[in-house]
């Protein structure tokens, strides 16, 4: 008797979950439900616009009027457009010089920070500041620093150091404006590079340096044969990111020069914006934006091979 009464009571301890919870126990349903918000957002606002952008590049759409298919006309027009060629040249030049500057200075800063320093976390916080603050707002500060009349750099050069007699005209003519923008971009990019490379430096085992010291290596040899090769995988990833986001940069140029003087500092992104949104030529703007894609694919492949090299160095299989 006692056995029959206890058995159902024991069974009831585990409550049966509701039908909804049971549906979510089916793995495929759960997986789809979990992935749905992210995938839906990205499909609607990233994949679809990417395709739409490529489609628009082959039409003559303007604001408020859906366009006709015009084939390669937009691209043919661009190839004859000196402004587009100018933007291609400056985008490549800007990316090349700024990336080189960011990585040279960033690596130097990372090597400095890798020493035993007092107030390390405060120092790190200060150094990341240019990267945290909205780019446009620091760009406005640079705009003021580059002012033709009241530039603080001109003041230093003319009145304090006396190396020049006239104010420097930073943004008034083509080449000074180009170099000024590159300097601002390097200033903004150093922190990210330095902090990422510092993380890479800290993973290098000190015993490698000890072994090299015992073998009588010089400081340069230790950098060349230990630090640099060990840093290469991270360097490749950070560089890919940096190249992609420098090449497609918009904010800095738009805030400081808006592509001027006389369109000499247009990047592809600012040119696409100028033609597409205020100019209303959406088709042509999209064509300019699409012309950035081959470069980005190249940079992504660079990243892929950087990653592959890393696996090979660590002696891991391909997952």
């Amino acid at each position: 008797m006692s056995a029959t009464t206890t058995a159902p009571a024991w069974n009831r301890v585990r409550q049966e979950p509701g039908w909804l919870a049971r549906v979510f126990e089916i793995k495929i349903v759960l997986v789809l439900a979990c992935l749905f918000p992210a995938v839906a957002l990205l499909m609607t606002f990233l994949t679809y616009p990417l395709g739409l952008g490529i489609f628009l590049a082959f039409t003559d759409t303007t604001i408020g009027r859906s366009g006709q298919w015009v084939g390669l006309e937009n691209f043919e027009y661009l190839l004859e457009d000196p402004l587009w060629w100018n933007a291609v040249f400056y985008s490549v030049f800007y990316t090349g010089v700024a990336t080189f500057g960011k990585f040279a200075l960033g690596l130097w800063l990372a090597l400095l920070l890798n020493n035993n320093l007092p107030l390390k976390s405060l120092l790190r916080a200060i150094i990341l500041l240019p990267w945290i603050v909205p780019t446009v707002l620091s760009a406005i500060a640079f705009w003021w620093i580059y002012d033709p009349q009241f530039s603080i750099i001109s003041y230093l050069a003319v009145d304090v150091l006396g190396v020049r007699t006239t104010n420097i005209d930073f943004l008034g003519s083509a080449w000074p404006a180009r170099w000024s923008l590159i300097a601002a971009n390097i200033w903004r990019g150093i922190p990210f590079v330095a902090i990422s490379l510092l993380a890479g430096l800290q993973t290098i085992s000190p015993s490698l340096y000890e072994a090299a010291l015992l073998d009588g290596s010089t400081g340069w040899q230790r950098f060349r044969y230990i630090t640099f090769p060990m840093l290469l995988p991270i360097l490749a990833i950070v560089m890919t990111f940096s190249i992609i986001f420098t090449f497609t940069d918009f904010q800095l140029v738009y805030a400081i020069t808006r592509g001027g003087p006389v369109n000499s500092t247009h990047l592809l992104a600012t040119l696409a914006f100028q033609r597409g949104i205020p100019g209303g030529q959406l088709g042509e703007g999209a064509a300019i934006a699409v012309s950035m894609i081959p470069f980005l694919v190249f940079a992504t492949l660079f990243s892929y091979f950087g990653l592959a090299r890393r696996k090979w160095q660590q002696g891991e299989g391909n997952d």
Binding site: L42, P134, T248, I277
Partner: protein, 300 residues
């Protein structure tokens, strides 16, 4: 600096060898480490110093370097900030930006937590390809997307509405957060979930009661990233928002405060300073989370 470089050579000649070595290495350390480091910090901070100083200078000092020392403020004033807060729509812009940043941060945290959990913990077939696809989505820059997105936003009737920005910002926030959270979930021992499974918990219960509480630090750093990224966003907000009072701070300062040929540098700098402060303060509380997740994400 020249003194410090010359000194080691002089002391090398002296006879007190041990003392010289110590002195030599200290001088060397100063020249090769502290001097360059000081230069870096000086250059990285100078624009902010200049911004701050300009924001509090009266106009008379601002445009007269001959009588006043430009590196210091003679008589600090709050005029520019007063002008900004009471004569422009600045508080409104701040509020709009804050709302957009908070909403898009929560939206993307929700989406990316679920996605990261599915990819890292449910281990379905092809999960690593989904992860790779989301990673690749991060490499698609906004400069390519804003024109087609502008037409989409227009067709959806969301043009000139903050809702458009709240929906569009997750395109760059979700990939980043998912990527970061996948890394974080990896660091939580799987055994904990197995124990819960054996005890008869459902998958959703595990996510809510075990994994999420453990992932709070990861969620915080993903949240900070999202907040700063959406606060700083510029191109979408420039392209999709037309009316003055709905603009976000970075766009509004550039398009609304710059009027005519004479720039009001004081007000511009005050606006930039106030616009930078929320992110700077927010970030300074969580700098360690920020750095560790940044470097962790890079190392992944």
């Amino acid at each position: 600096m020249t003194d410090a470089a010359a000194l080691p050579q002089q002391t090398n000649a002296s006879t007190a060898q041990a003392e010289t070595m110590a002195w030599d290495s200290r001088a060397r350390r100063t020249v090769t480490l502290y001097v360059p480091l000081a230069c870096f910090v000086l250059i990285l901070l100078f624009p902010f110093y200049w911004m701050t100083i300009t924001a509090f200078k009266p106009n008379a000092e601002l445009f007269d370097y001959k009588t006043y020392n430009p590196f210091w403020i003679g008589s600090p004033t709050l005029d520019h900030i007063k002008h900004l807060l009471f004569n422009t729509a600045y508080p409104k812009w701040l509020l709009t930006t804050m709302t957009i940043a908070v909403c898009s941060t929560f939206l993307s945290l929700f989406a990316s937590t679920l996605a990261a959990y599915a990819i890292q913990r449910l281990r379905f077939k092809g999960s690593q390809y989904v992860g790779l696809a989301i990673y690749l989505a991060y490499l698609v820059p906004p400069s390519i997307l804003f024109i087609p997105l502008a037409t989409m936003v227009y067709q959806l009737g969301l043009f000139d509405s903050p809702l458009a920005l709240i929906l569009v910002y997750p395109t760059f926030l979700v990939p980043f957060c998912t990527w970061l959270l996948i890394g974080y979930f990896k660091s939580i021992p799987y055994e904990l979930e197995e124990c819960a499974l054996i005890d008869g918990a459902t998958r959703l219960q595990i996510l809510r009661q075990i994994t999420l509480p453990l992932a709070v630090p990861g969620l915080i750093s993903a949240g900070i990233f999202s907040f700063t990224l959406s606060w700083n966003e510029f191109i979408y907000s420039l392209a999709f928002i037309q009316s003055s009072e709905k603009k976000t701070v970075p766009v509004a300062i550039l398009t609304e405060l710059v009027s005519g040929d004479v720039y009001q540098w004081g007000a511009l700098m005050a606006g930039s300073l106030l616009g930078s402060l929320p992110v700077a303060i927010f970030y300074s509380f969580f700098v360690d989370y920020y750095v560790s997740s940044l470097t962790g994400a890079v190392k992944e």
